[in-house]
Point group: C2
């Protein structure tokens, strides 16, 4: 396969930054000094689980401080937000990575991404023993990475042997009561956690998991409850890069966390995860190449959180009225005329994407502004990717605001959003399987306002059928003798898709429905009442039937075949001419309706 | 008009929080103590300039520290990023609002939102005199607010008379050389800036201006260059709420800035501006009701920056192939058969919304994956709201990656995005006015591969016309005598929209085009070659013509009228029957094509 321009871009980026040899490999943990300073990987993982890689993206190294936000998320899930906030703050300290930075009165570390805060966070992870805690941390990290992870025992041993300052922090936290037991076990958990082995690719997928609301996009497994993702990203945004955090966010706009192993885990929220790995560190303790690569990535690819030059796609991908889009129920002429004239009182919206306050506000505004001039609003939710609580409440409230005015807001194809809308107070009667049924309901409402109590499905005589318009009594009598009289029971098949096409139907009593099977059952393409005919397209071009037609109730109909047309041609050619003219006339209205709908959808 | 549920929500929110009487009106500036502690306004302004208000949203008060990010933006525009960063950092200090917080070596204030940083920022605003500087600040703030603003002279005088600590900061900055002149004038600018009178509504619109990339959404005027908006929002995110900034971002996820006058200006980037005003302050110096309201707003309306439960609408709103969507050029049978069989080699994508790396990546991936199985990719940009540099470069690179493989990426309806795509290297020949012309180009490519050098517009005989299919030589001769022979020159009108419909055309030589006038010229609805007929729909249903038909080149045609049909009915009814059958047959293919297109667009 040809190389994607995205992969070509990453390869080029990697080649250029490989020349940067600034910084030094960490050596305050002796074992880290064995890293090859030339290791260098760049990896991007998308929110839907596609991974782009360049360089040493599969080389294992220890996660170090990049572990901190992940463990913080685990502590939030274990203890709840309030308990965690009592023990660890969320204020940036402006201090270096090993500063102690405790809140003077309470002794709570200022934030969970400095060592003191990370050790306190380890103390909050649930588990009877240090082993159990480490097991839960490994399992969680593994869910983020999408594979089983392990600890680099040599780095752990080195880290534990030289972690004097961290032991001092542990005892201070014990003194303030931030740690409730002797710190020894918690410190072991902390040292182990820092020595978990990951790859650059793992970091990118971990980032993509956060970008994706906590679900690993490659495995589909949840690593963290969605409710805590915003908290984890917040501390990464304000405290992720030590005393370089403010400048980092200013320049790249990416919540991120670095580790002295040389890794950087960065997130474009709702979009991407980024992993960069290169062991040489700058004076802040961040990977020197990593910082430079992320800066360039953010600028080249426009990843800055606050790059507001973009404008989200509108939540409404289409807004139209019954003038352009009708239900598939064919209406008798008088009803059709009324619906045509008052079509703008029935409005149809197709929503898409994430429905959040700012994106749904224009829709609600539009509906409220038209609450006088329209009677029925249909909101199709088929292309909606998510619908948050605020949106559900506002939509349900819009429904209940309209109801006393005799207006309705209907939901079509609500699928899984059904539940939150119902929970927010929308009545079950407002939901329809698809636009077609919602439109039909709205059309019936318009007709009921104009013709109260009128029924539209009374049996028709041959003379009332559009196909026989302009025929005199003799002609009708001739036809009635020739046409086949046929009856169907409710649900019975009148036309089967794939079969040949020698019949054109005219309904005199009952109604029938054209449908095609779909994943969720059937989709109705048309519904016919007495006086209407169907089956003419395949009848004329003799291609096999493309849809099924079934009787909705007891149907009495007349059937015209090609043999009868041939007989007419020989015995009463004028009748055949009238018939063909009426068939063609019926087709022109199908074409005009389709053209109007196409114009609305384009 | 009925009250919108959004307005109802704000009114209720206001009523509930009006009961909160915690905190105290600021009195360290004596004049501020005269504020009515019960004043309380909440205002939301959308990115498209719609404003929702509750309470005292038109009550003037002084902007105080909420001025700081706006002046910072002005300094960035005046001096450039590098010069500003040399004088003022962007690290959160973790300190209170009046802490001095200078970088120990350079004396640079840690960030522009503490007093020291804001005074240094005032020193960077261009202007020969304090008056000129203040004038430029007032003008800039006025553009953010969308109205002329002024200074509350009593508050200014009070602020200047008691600003001892700020004078001390000014002299320290002078000592470090951060201010290059005596601080007196700069301090006057600073005191004036803090005393600018705004309303809660102004703050919301200022926020919406930042959300909207620097353009005031109500007036359409630009207040700050788009390139600096991300920097202003970054410092608001990390440093906006004094030593409460980390917790604020954690809880609300809204870049914001408070002032001791009681105002809070908050931003949901790319979405909303929020203003809250209530003079009672909490212990951090932030409006007590303001903090509580913003917290509830963020939770109720799902405004948190890092709420990644939402998923942006996909950049591709439709992807289809020539199987469903064809150019309006009607093809002779052999060409039509080939295009039908190989239709999947011609792909059409409709993009929408903001094209940024993460949204355009799936499109590029799809194209590259299909680079073997398809020949031509058309990308329609009509519904694109913005297209950033990264996207332009990637699309241009995708074009040049495909070219050596003999494949093409075409752009249709590129409108203003044309320029950046050309600048990124896309050739002019890749742009088409609309899908129709791009599809025609792609179809011609498919035909050229299969039938190299073949021309399709050679003159036709009557026998070759679809309308006369199945007619024998005698019948054709009869018709040719009856039909009107007519010629048109290039560009000449053959059918005029709105006119009556007594003619059906058959082309024997040359080609013709159906079009409707649109805002930007005309849209082509169909193009016909020799052997084809047109005008049949209005001819049959006798409604007025809905489009114009013009000759593209020299056209020779035959014209059928209703009078001729009546004559045929009397003199050769079998011919009329054949004609009607052929007309109906032509219509069935129009209906089938429209149904396929409707299915693709839905």
């Amino acid at each position: 396969m040809t190389t994607s321009p995205i992969h070509a871009y990453l390869t080029d980026l990697h080649a250029r930054h490989a020349l940067n040899a600034s910084g030094n490999v960490a050596d305050y943990i002796p074992e880290l000094a064995y890293a090859n300073p030339e290791w260098f990987g760049i990896c991007i993982a998308t929110r839907d689980g596609v991974v782009y890689e360049a360089g040493d993206t599969r080389q294992p190294f220890t996660i170090q401080s990049a572990s901190k936000p992940l463990t913080y998320g685990l502590a939030l899930a274990d203890c709840g937000e309030d308990a965690v906030l009592r023990k660890v703050g969320v204020e940036p300290s402006g201090d270096a990575f090993n500063a102690i930075s405790l809140q003077p009165q309470t002794g709570a570390p200022l934030n969970p991404l400095i060592n003191a805060g990370a050790i306190a966070t380890c103390g909050l992870v649930r588990g009877e023993s240090a082993d159990e805690k480490l097991g839960r941390i490994l399992e969680t990290f593994g869910r983020y990475a999408g594979r089983e992870l392990d600890v680099d025992e040599r780095v752990y041993a080195s880290e534990s042997a030289t972690g004097h300052r961290n032991r001092a922090i542990g005892w201070m936290l014990r003194g303030f009561g931030i740690l409730s037991d002797e710190p020894t076990a918690t410190l072991e958990t902390y040292f182990h956690q820092c020595a978990i082995r990951v790859t650059c690719r793992d970091l990118a997928i971990m980032g993509a998991t956060l970008a994706n609301g906590g679900v690993n996009p490659v495995t589909g497994e949840r690593a963290i409850d969605a409710a805590y993702v915003d908290h984890v990203l917040s501390v990464m945004a304000t405290c992720g890069m030590y005393d370089f955090s403010g400048e980092w966010l200013y320049q790249t706009g990416l919540p991120a966390k670095s580790g002295v192993g040389g890794g950087i885990l960065a997130v474009q929220p709702a979009r991407l995860g980024i992993g960069v790995f290169s062991p040489r560190l700058d004076e802040h303790g961040n990977s020197a190449r990593g910082i430079a690569v992320c800066r360039e990535l953010a600028a080249d690819l426009g990843l800055h959180l606050f790059d507001v030059s973009g404008r989200p796609a509108p939540a409404i991908r289409m807004a139209t009225t019954r003038r352009s889009v009708a239900s598939s129920r064919r209406r008798p002429p008088e009803a059709a005329d009324h619906l045509r004239a008052f079509g703008s009182r029935l409005r149809l919206y197709h929503a898409q994407g994430s429905l959040v306050f700012a994106s749904v506000e224009p829709l609600i505004r539009d509906i409220m502004e038209r609450a006088e001039s329209a009677d029925c609003f249909i909101l199709n939710l088929k292309s909606v990717e998510s619908l948050d609580g605020a949106t559900a409440r506002l939509l349900a409230q819009t429904h209940s605001t309209l109801e006393p005015l005799g207006k309705s807001l209907l939901f079509s194809e609500a699928s899984t959003w059904w539940e939150s809308l119902i929970a927010a107070g929308a009545p079950r009667s407002a939901f329809f399987a698809d636009d077609d049924f919602a439109l039909e309901y709205g059309e019936n409402g318009l007709l009921e306002r104009r013709f109260p109590g009128r029924t539209w499905d009374t049996p028709a005589t041959l003379a009332e059928c559009a196909l026989f318009a302009g025929f005199d009594a003799d002609a009708l009598a001739t036809l009635d003798r020739m046409l086949e009289h046929r009856n169907y029971g409710p649900g019975q098949t009148m036309i089967a898709a794939g079969h040949s096409s020698n019949e054109l139907f005219v309904i005199l009593r009952g109604s029938a429905m054209v449908s095609i099977p779909t994943r969720n059952g059937v989709t109705r393409l048309a519904a016919f009442a007495p006086g209407m005919s169907f089956g003419e397209i395949a009848f004329i071009d003799r291609a096999p039937r493309t849809a099924n037609v079934t009787a909705i109730d007891a149907v009495a109909c007349r059937v015209l075949t090609h043999e009868m047309l041939s007989r007419l041609e020989r015995e009463a050619s004028l009748l055949k001419i009238r018939l063909l003219e009426n068939v063609a006339l019926g087709m022109t209205s199908l074409i005009r309706q389709a053209d109007a709908e196409l114009a609305a959808l384009r």
